[in-house]
């Protein structure tokens, strides 16, 4: 009380005067806000520092290669002829193959788990999906290398034999030898699909299950079939989550290292025949070459890293943008 009385009371506000209406937060709030703000800013700072580090260490190589770094497909740092073009193309190709396999499966699995599975099975499936997402990539890599590859050779051959005559990019050299189909972008892509599948499923399932009950009941009360209700309520609501899930999966697939590393046999031409042995990708390339490179070659690898960093940053930002603009991303019940 006495502390209050020491200060003269503020003069009553004039009726036409605008008043300050922002309360001064108590000390504990200020400390807490300061702490969380520091934490959030520091993630941005770390991110920025990584980018800066990559840029600084990449500069020597970029100074040598100039803009050709983005167009050159060879990797011959000894003669200053190196670039990220074939690597980036291979990275994108493998990621797209992975998505082509993973997205339809994830979509179906997410719909089944959120809409059709009985309650007991639903819990089990959610746990299993989460578990799958937690399995280290190296496990998928070994599975891909030792098991999947052998089984996919025949599939590759079948695809090539059946569709090759119509779609030239599916043809391979020496089509009758099974080994022509090993270590290909296709096999790497399918293996990577297993890595991204749980992530995409999880994101999609989450948004599907958030579709408002009131709207679901509205559709059902109108005499909708289950699928009619899903089409009218769940899918429009989940559109942001579908796109967001796909893009998060894409970001993950672009950066996948060990799975691709074990399966592919590296080459520095543009992969034009995904079923044919030999392709490349940025992350495995860095992993393979970093121990044996120095000077400009090492700097070149960091430049590759910079390109991958910026590319995945772009994809994830776009994903975040799409998700936040959609109803499901806003997670508001109206």
């Amino acid at each position: 009380m006495s502390a209050l009385l020491e200060h003269a009371p503020p003069p009553p506000p004039r009726s036409d005067e605008r008043r300050e209406i922002h309360p001064v937060p108590p000390r504990s709030d200020r400390i807490f806000v300061g702490a969380v703000r520091t934490a959030s800013v520091s993630t941005l700072v770390v991110m920025g520092l990584i980018g800066l580090f990559l840029l600084l260490r990449a500069m020597p190589a970029l100074k040598v290669a100039k803009w050709h770094f983005l167009t050159e497909h060879q990797w011959l740092p000894e003669v200053n002829k190196f670039g990220v073009a074939s690597l980036l193309w291979g990275t994108i190709l493998i990621a797209l193959i992975a998505l082509a396999v993973a997205v339809p499966v994830a979509f179906g699995a997410a719909l089944f788990i959120s809409e059709y599975a009985p309650r007991s099975l639903k819990k089990l499936l959610i746990t299993l999906t989460d578990l799958m997402a937690a399995v280290p990539a190296v496990v998928y890599a070994m599975w891909g290398f030792f098991w999947l590859q052998g089984h996919l050779l025949e599939v590759s051959k079948f695809l090539s034999d059946t569709f090759g005559p119509v779609l030239p990019f599916l043809r391979v050299d020496n089509p009758d030898t099974l080994s022509s189909y090993s270590s290909s972008a296709f096999i790497a892509g399918v293996a990577v699909s297993a890595v991204v599948l749980p992530t995409i499923t999880s994101v999609m399932r989450e948004v599907f299950s958030q579709a408002p009950v009131s709207e679901r009941e509205g559709a059902i009360a109108l005499g909708a079939t289950k699928w009619g209700m899903i089409r009218t309520v769940v899918l429009p609501f989940g559109r942001g989550g579908i796109i967001g899930g796909i893009m998060l999966g894409l970001g993950r697939a672009l950066g996948e290292t060990i799975v691709v590393f074990l399966i592919i046999s590296p080459m520095f031409d543009f992969t034009t025949h995904p079923l044919q042995s030999g392709t490349n990708s940025i992350a495995p390339h860095i992993a393979l070459r970093s121990t044996e490179s120095s000077g400009t070659a090492l700097s070149g690898l960091l430049a590759c890293g910079l390109v991958l960093f910026l590319f995945t940053l772009l994809i994830n930002t776009a994903a975040g943008f799409v998700i936040s603009r959609s109803r499901s991303g806003a997670a508001t019940e109206i």
């Binding site: 009941e217 509205g218 559709a219 009360a221 079939t225 009218t232 429009p236 109206i334």
Partner: protein, 278 residues
């Protein structure tokens, strides 16, 4: 005030539903092992408005949801007895639930239009979901049905110039009337309303009540309400539900609205309608 009741309606573009009589026979309901309704017998006569009244938690809404097979959507829900629409059991194995729900429409406590769908498409959504949507060549017919349904729901004048706007852009009261229009567009024989005005302001409430009065001749209405004045204003018949503590709900008294309010036989009914409890 313009009298929306006397505004002549354009002729119906599709065959209107014919009001049907809905009879509940000895209906009981459970959630898991918990019984919430017991021995409910109620006839909801064709072309009349039946109000279900009673304190919260007495099973009115559960009963209403039983009438168009929405009860079974709740995991663990079960029931006994039968519900007949013009003599046909809606729970008969030969009667698909989708068919029952198309004949028996429902308006919920909370307005639930499809928020990103246009007002126009919201009205037609029931037909589209039933696979009876209008193709591109029948836009005029579709337009007529949209206008008729929105007029019936008393919303046409407010939205006629923005039929392409999303359903979610309307005010709460307008959204509720859009839901009524949507339910009417499929020409149901019965319309169930679960406290349709509980979230609405007095003006919107009056408009919904006008709507109920206007549609009562072409569809049987069953309405759950906590508002005694509303029950008196809109209904022809009333059923008073009550549940003793830890006992399933049942109907204490039913009869004409006038009798229930002015001449109740049971003391508990008298206490409730006069606001002495509940």
């Amino acid at each position: 005030m313009t009298d929306t009741l006397t505004t002549p309606l354009p002729p119906l573009p599709t065959s209107a539903g014919t009001p049907a009589t809905l009879s509940a026979r000895n209906v009981g309901a459970w959630f898991g092992d918990h019984q919430v309704l017991e021995g409910v017998d109620l006839e909801m006569k064709a072309g009349q408005v039946t109000a279900l009244i009673g304190p919260s938690g007495c099973g009115k809404s559960t009963f209403l949801r039983i009438l168009n097979r929405m009860h079974e959507l709740v995991p663990g829900a079960s029931l006994s007895g039968e519900v007949l629409i013009d003599g046909d059991d809606i729970y008969a194995p030969t009667m698909p639930p989708i068919e029952s729900r198309r004949r028996i429409g429902m308006v919920f406590q909370k307005a639930n239009p499809f928020p990103t769908m246009s007002i126009h498409d919201n009205v037609l959504s029931g037909l589209k979901l039933a696979g009876k949507g209008f193709g591109k060549g029948r836009a005029a017919e579709a337009g007529d049905l949209v206008e008729h349904s929105l007029r019936s729901a008393g919303l046409w004048d407010e939205v006629r110039n923005r039929l392409g706007a999303p359903g979610g852009s309307l005010s709460g009261g307008q959204q509720q009337r859009l839901c009524i229009a949507r339910a009417l567009a499929v020409s149901p024989d019965v319309l169930l309303m679960d406290e349709p005005c509980s979230a609405l302001d007095p003006t919107s409430t009056r408009r919904v009540e006008e709507t109920i009065a206007a549609i009562a001749h072409e569809v049987t209405v069953v309405i759950v309400t906590h508002n005694m004045q509303q029950a008196q204003r809109v209904s022809d018949r009333c059923a008073f539900f009550l549940a003793a503590e830890n006992q399933p709900g049942h109907i204490v008294e039913q009869g004409s609205t006038a009798d229930i309010f002015e001449n109740p036989r049971d003391e508990r009914t008298s206490d409730y309608v006069n606001g002495r409890f509940g």
